[in-house]
Symmetry: C2
Subunit: 139 residues, 2 copies
DNA sequence: CATTGTTGTCTAGTTAGAGTAGACAGATCA
DNA sequence: TGATCTGTCTACTCTAACTAGACAACAATG
């Protein structure tokens, strides 16, 4: 078991802005507990050269994550992962999630991805991000 | 069973552009077979006044769906739903889907939505868009 | 304690794309 | 024909993503 690099991949041709792609992927790693509180993320300039973008673009992503309570940014020192209290859920985000989920599934279904493959991708993501809670017979 | 209105909801404060929100939701309805080939969609101007946006914004959404093969646009006549052949799936779209799915799940998980709720929302979307194929033990 | 090099932050500026307004062109019908 | 539907096109405004480069706080080192 080596240093498992935790690589980020961006798509410049995607309509979703790069700073959001970066924030989204780091957030996914944080939710999956791939970073521990107290750990330091690579610097904005380090990530910037890795991805071939401006350091300000990475800084914007870090600032978003800091606003969400994931990071503590200290100038001159770096980006520190902090322990975060999960907010209480709102019905609005849940219904909005349902909407975006349907749209996303419809999009890939229309692109030819099979229902089995879609379910399989979800299970993979769910076990990584949600654990195995509530697998058989939900609720 | 009445005329089940098939309403579209848009969020002007969302970062995803309105024309894409419209296209995404109509595509979801098309995948869910809520429209039949031969049926006519409401006109761009009709949808525009319903949503309170410019008719060109709706036209852009319709044009996207036409490019995907869902609609046939005939000026002076309207937007016709056509029968579409599903393209063969590419591994790229599937892995990109996995990525976007993880990002989306991480986002709502971070917002406090419970794992059970997330799984429940997925099941709801899946049965509406994918049918019940492959429910127990995938693959 | 000064110096040097690191870190994140800030200010400007460019550019691409979303949205709008309004004219245009094909289709339908009285 | 004339009136009025339909989607299309052109021109314009405005916001936001991205970049370049200077700036400020901190650390390391002599």
């Amino acid at each position: 078991m080596g240093s498992s690099k935790k690589v980020i991949r961006i798509d410049l041709s995607s309509p979703v802005p790069v700073y959001r792609q970066i924030a989204d992927q780091i957030r996914a790693m944080l939710v999956a507990r791939e970073f521990s509180p107290g750990e330091r993320l690579p610097t904005v300039r380090q990530v910037a050269v890795d991805l071939g973008v401006n350091h300000n673009t990475v800084a914007e992503a870090y600032r978003n994550l800091a606003e969400e309570g994931w990071l503590s940014l200290e100038r001159g020192r770096g980006a520190l992962v902090v322990s975060r209290t999960t907010p209480s859920p709102s019905p609005k985000v849940r219904s909005a999630f349902g909407q975006r989920l349907r749209d996303l599934i419809a999009q890939v279904r229309a692109a030819g991805v099979s229902p089995q493959a879609i379910r399989s991708e979800f299970e993979e993501a769910a076990t990584a991000l949600l654990g195995r809670e509530g697998k058989g017979s939900a609720r």
